[in-house]
């Protein structure tokens, strides 16, 4: 038996009075994806190729991305990951090659873009592979997680089409992938000293981050005082908590170009800055009044 939906007359009139004055295109079911792009899918043995991973946000504004790229270690050797020029501004886990495990090798990544990114082809990173033995296989993305720039970290469905490749028994005669021509240092940056009761037991630590648009950042080094530069990651617990000695942070890109920045203390919050400005103004005003009063006294005493 067919049911009839009944609605009170008043409700119907109300619904009718709510005018349907416009007709809009419905939004399709939403899903963001990772796109793999390379020049070909068939290779010889011992051939190098480069594959790039892009994000298509499908019109949505996203600000956080994570996942892993998995490939068969018996067919491919991962040589290098290039993340210069990535849409990710801050890596939580910078994409890097993990040790092969059970015939598979992974590249894990996780990062954010403050303010979000929306676009059909946002560059994440690229990977250089060298083929090994003949056969067929796939490069695939797994555990993808894309989050909206909505203040809640709402997830969006994410998927990636796997990239299938074939390796013939021929030995490659093609030349390897050209190294990136990068003679520019990483971009200028400003490390901060800060402290917070919630990490490092409230001790002073250093934070730093910069970009290299060509080859990408390889690592950072920190030097306290006249000591040697040591490899470091942000946040970095300062060894010497009391020293007033200079602290320097060196950013090194994947071609070995370096940028060294001296440390400044963390910017004061705006409220404190206002108090500071008010204090300076107050002291200046008092000084002016003092000078003025002194002049008057001097004039009086000289006229007497």
């Amino acid at each position: 038996m067919k049911s009839i939906v009944t609605v009170p007359i008043l409700n119907k009139i109300t619904r009718f009075l709510v005018p349907a004055v416009a007709f809009f295109v419905a939004s399709p079911a939403f899903s963001a994806q990772i796109l793999f792009q390379t020049e070909k899918t068939s290779f010889s043995q011992n051939e190098e190729f480069l594959i790039s991973a892009y994000v298509d946000t499908e019109g949505e504004m996203l600000n956080a991305y994570e996942g892993k790229i998995i490939f068969p270690a018996q067919f491919l050797e991962g040589k290098e990951v290039r993340d210069g020029n990535s849409l990710v501004n801050f890596w939580i886990e910078r994409p890097s090659l993990q040790q092969p495990n059970e015939g598979k090798q992974e590249i894990v990544f996780s990062g954010i873009t403050p303010g979000g990114f929306s676009g059909a082809k946002g560059f994440l990173f690229s990977i250089i592979f060298r083929t090994k033995q003949s056969g067929t296989g796939t490069i695939q993305a797994d555990r993808l997680r894309f989050l909206k720039n909505d203040g809640k970290g709402s997830p969006v469905p994410a998927h990636a089409s796997s990239f299938s490749f074939a390796i013939s028994s021929e030995i490659s005669t093609s030349s390897p992938i050209k190294p990136i021509l990068d003679d520019a240092p990483p971009e200028d940056f400003m490390p901060f000293i800060s402290n917070d009761p919630n990490i490092f037991d409230g001790k002073n630590f250093l934070v730093f981050s910069t970009q290299d648009k060509d080859s990408g950042i390889d690592h950072y080094e920190v030097r306290e005082g006249n000591g040697a530069f040591v490899r470091a990651e942000s946040p970095y617990l300062l060894k010497d908590q009391s020293s007033d000695a200079d602290i320097e942070v060196k950013a090194v890109d994947k071609k070995g170009n370096e940028r060294t920045a001296k440390v400044s203390t963390e910017q004061e919050p705006e409220g404190k800055q206002k108090f500071l400005i008010f204090g300076i103004l107050l002291v200046s005003a008092l000084a002016l009044i003092g000078v003025s009063v002194r002049k008057k006294i001097w004039k009086k005493s000289s006229s007497n």
């Binding site: 419905a26 790039s52 019109g59 979000g116 203040g151 648009k213």
Partner: protein, 449 residues
Amino acid sequence: MQLKKTQNRPLFYGMAAMISTLFFCVGYAYSEEYSSSQYTVLDPVMNAGGYGSSTNFSLLGVISQISNGPGSSANFGDNAGFLYYPSVSSPAVSATPGSSQVSLSWTASQGYSGWAVSGYNVARSTTSGGPYTYTSLGNVTSDTQTGLVNGTTYYFVIVVKDAFARAIASSTEISAVPVAAVVPPSGGGVAGGGIITTKPPPLVPTAETAAEFSGKAYPFSKVFILKDGQIVKRSIADAEGNFVGKLTGLAAGDHSFSIYAEDKNGIHGSLFTFPVYLTKGVTTVIGGIFLAPTISVDKSEVKRGERIAIFGQAAPNAQVTININSNIFVQQRSDKDGDYLLNFDSSALELGASSVKSKQALGSEISQFSNGVGFKVGTKNVKIETSGCAEKGDLNGGCRINLVDFSIAAYWYKRPLNAAFKEVEAKYLNGDGKIDLIDFSIMAYYWSG
């Protein structure tokens, strides 16, 4: 699909037809109600075609049931009923001159209340203000205008189109002067691994790589320009809220620029972010940036039935649309100082959590919505002092969400939280007792650099 016919409705149809005629002067006829296993459409209405209009509204056509808001499923999408203040945001545009060409890119317009963007037109002229010639594009956010005369100033406007290819918003005008190419310098390399880059060649190798910004915020507001998430420039808007800023000595390549402003009450506006490719030795101009208003409330909890003040700063004399809980819209006009205030009667709200956001329109420019501000509708009034600090993400209480907060979160990433930091996580992040990607996403949303 199985169709069902509704019976015994002559009285209602008669009344409905009379009201329809009176109010809209458009003839309607009810169609059959129908349903499938996935959805049901009640009282579908179709008009006979043709447009209706009056001084207050324009009827484009109706194929719809009468209900509020959009509905969708995996198999079907529908937007029906009276969609409140549908609008799209104006794009911000960047122009990079090349030899006999100008590369344009723009931020995607965001549609609200069901309005979708179908594409864009590029309007081009050698005279400011037009007349323009138009290039019709699909739903893309970049274009290269070629065949231009080097040394001539060209003016561009990006026009946003709806599903009927009608212009529904536009950017402000932006200009660029194509310049004859010189021999590109050696070196440089290909960005991002070297697959596809079709950028214009470098023009003047000795010139600096720079980006020039202009747009509108709030009168005398502090404007912050961020490059790749970190503050690199501060500026002050003028009495009309206009601001400009120029960054020099930049590296060529893809950059993520963000801009926000802090109003006279110290309230931070929302981050407006856009990706721009900078060409070596070329100044890229980015214009038409129209920031969302700042927004705040005077109570963290309002007793249901009493008023809550919703306020902020926008451009002077802008039309500010205040949106409460996604379904209540109120329009206000900001005063000459850009201030707006709405004393909202909370009777219309359910008990529990609410949130409010706002956007502004001035002429043909429409901003995006601001970030939302939360408050509770309850049984008492709890006043708050406006601190200007973001309600989430500020892990160290510094009133800024920046690399320090990111580093604190990064420290606890994949580690068990101690009791003290659990409280911080509960207050400033998503409160699930761990630090993962969601918490970083929250910080990225409230980011201030």
